[in-house]
């Protein structure tokens, strides 16, 4: 796939790097013991430390360190045995200390990489520069009062992992795949809940364009995007804008941009501070963080099967395509569901593609219609496995299976029970089918004559009539065979 974009004058290449902020899934904040629960009353989860009261001091949360290390392992990255917490100094209403505790020169995690998979079966590595731990800021509300900005410090001090990529991304789709991949790794590791709506996962996007082969162009940074859809929209808009500016002979100014989700446009932040000078220096309230090799090894042992490993397993064991496998594994709960379904019966393994289809098309459409997540599916993996087994054993037809699925969804009942109660079992008894076929032939003399004169298409009509009589329960294969045989005998 070519990544070049046709401009009016020539082709352009887009260069994108992402800074993902992922909230560590912890009970308490990075340097204080206030709760991290989302959506609480304003300023109700604020400790003296979070409010930067005089004389208050940070004490680090061990669990957050462990989650950062695990995430680093999941990103195939180097875990640094020695890291330092620095202060990043700047003034803002929702930054009570006047500095953010972050990591600058010595982050806890160094270089790594993740792989993204395309529909055509190909894949690409995106390099990770680093992951570091830092405090989240509070929240400023600008529209609650005509003359004031309100500040809520509930988020202030919540632990974030900032994951910085190399500028290896070339278009909006890759950016989407990349953030999806990171999200999926985080959720497999359970180090972040991945909830983009609540802001647990958000990204700053750095974008520049260049003529192929040139050095990097001047980049702009779009701040704080919290959905993959917006990330893609923002990138596409910004790339177009930059190309237009350059082709009209203008220059790109290095800028911090905001994306307006209703207009779909980017614009420079108005409160653009005069050139930032963050004056990073080691936080003298904290000591260097030293992590022993044995601690890293212990955490490695806690790492579950990750999406890439699971994808490989699906390809090897179930013969799924690279793309199918990557779609299935990208959401851990879907993939876990699939694994449970497959386990229901040893024969399902060979029919894994059917299982995938029943999950990703039939079950998903029911879930979507009812606004449910797979974790809340009324149909258990066990019951779905049973249903698929009924299909491959020819106990019911695929068509009836859809009705059964709907019934299962409504009643949470076992499919065997539904079939039993409603008498939906497929008819494979040849004598019974023969009787039905005989009736159909008797009742449709004219049609039979036309068929015999060469109108082969009418076979479908007879199948339909017979199915109707069997209330859809006749085994289509057997029905077909008997019909053809009986019709040919009429000749």
């Amino acid at each position: 796939m070519s990544n070049l974009i046709k401009g009016k004058k020539h082709d352009w290449e887009t260069v994108i790097g992402l800074e993902i902020h992922a909230q560590v899934k912890s009970n308490s904040k990075l340097f204080s013991s206030s709760s991290t629960t989302f959506g609480s009353k304003p300023n109700s989860q604020v400790s003296l430390v979070d409010a930067a009261m005089p004389g208050m001091l940070p004490v680090i949360n061990k669990y957050c360190i462990e989650q950062a290390i695990k995430t680093g392992i999941g990103l195939n990255a180097k875990i640094n045995n020695y890291s330092i917490f620095d202060r990043k100094n700047y003034f803002y209403a929702d930054l009570p200390q006047g500095y953010q505790i972050s990591q600058y020169k010595h982050p806890i995690v160094g270089e790594g990489k993740v792989t993204i998979d395309f529909k055509d079966g190909s894949s690409k590595d995106i390099r990770i520069v680093r992951l570091h731990l830092e405090q989240d800021a509070g929240k400023s509300l600008h529209d609650q009062n005509p003359t004031k900005t309100y500040v809520d410090l509930n988020r202030s001090g919540v632990a974030l992992m900032e994951i910085v990529s190399e500028p290896d991304i070339r278009n909006a789709d890759e950016a989407g795949l990349y953030i999806n991949k990171i999200r999926s790794i985080l959720m497999y590791l359970d180090t972040c809940d991945g909830n983009m709506q609540e802001g647990s996962l958000r990204a700053d996007v750095n974008i520049s364009v260049r003529k192929p082969g040139d050095d990097y162009g001047t980049r702009c940074e779009i701040k704080n995007l919290n959905s993959i859809k917006f990330i893609k929209q923002a990138i596409n808009y910004e790339v177009k804008r930059q190309i237009e500016v350059l082709e009209e002979g203008g220059v790109i100014e290095q800028n911090t941009l905001l994306f307006n989700t209703s207009t779909g446009k980017t614009r420079p932040m108005r409160s653009k501070e005069e050139a930032h000078d963050y004056r990073y220096f080691p936080d003298p309230d904290l000591l260097p963080l030293v992590i022993g090799q044995s601690e890293i090894e212990n955490l490695k042992n806690e790492i579950p099967e990750l999406p890439d490993d699971r994808k490989k397993r699906y390809i090897n064991e179930y013969n799924l395509s690279n793309y199918d496998a990557s779609v299935l594994t990208s959401d851990k709960s879907v993939s876990d569901f699939f694994d449970s379904v497959i386990k229901v019966d040893s024969r399902l393994k060979k029919s894994s593609k059917i299982v995938v289809n029943w999950i990703t098309s039939e079950l998903f459409s029911l879930l979507n219609e009812n606004d449910l997540e797979i974790n809340n599916s009324p149909i258990t993996p066990e019951n779905l496995g049973k249903l698929v087994k009924l299909i491959i054993d020819d106990v019911i037809s695929g068509k009836i299976a859809k009705d059964v699925l709907l019934e299962m969804f409504k009643t949470k009942k076992d499919p065997d029970k539904i079939i039993e109660d409603k008498g939906l079992k497929q008819v494979t008894d040849t004598s019974l089918i023969e009787t039905i076929v005989d009736d159909v032939i008797d009742e449709n003399h004219k049609m039979v004559d036309q068929y015999l004169l060469g109108k082969d298409k009418l076979l479908g009509f007879f199948v339909g009539q017979a199915m109707k009589k069997s209330k859809g329960k006749a085994n289509p294969k057997i029905l077909n065979e008997i019909l053809k045989e009986k019709l040919s005998k009429k000749n």
Binding site: S26, S34, K41, T147, T149, P288
Partner: protein, 95 residues
Amino acid sequence: MKLDTNTINKIAKLARIKLSEEEAEDLLKDMNSILDWVEQLNEVNTDSIEPLANISSSILPQRKDESSDVNSSDEILQNSPDKLEGYFAVPKVVE
């Protein structure tokens, strides 16, 4: 002279301290003499010396992930010069 008025004003802006012209003049003089005076550190050879950030030789203590603080928002807002509807209030910011 290390600093000029322009630099002083830039630093003051970074530190969010408004200086009158008089104050800036005064500080310029003081800061230049202080900076000249600390220059003497350049006499010291510090090649291959590790910077010392904190004298403590112990390792960074780590706490358990327990949420235990039970401060009410009233307590947190109590000393604020401007609080409204449970929030800290500041002059309106246009982003």
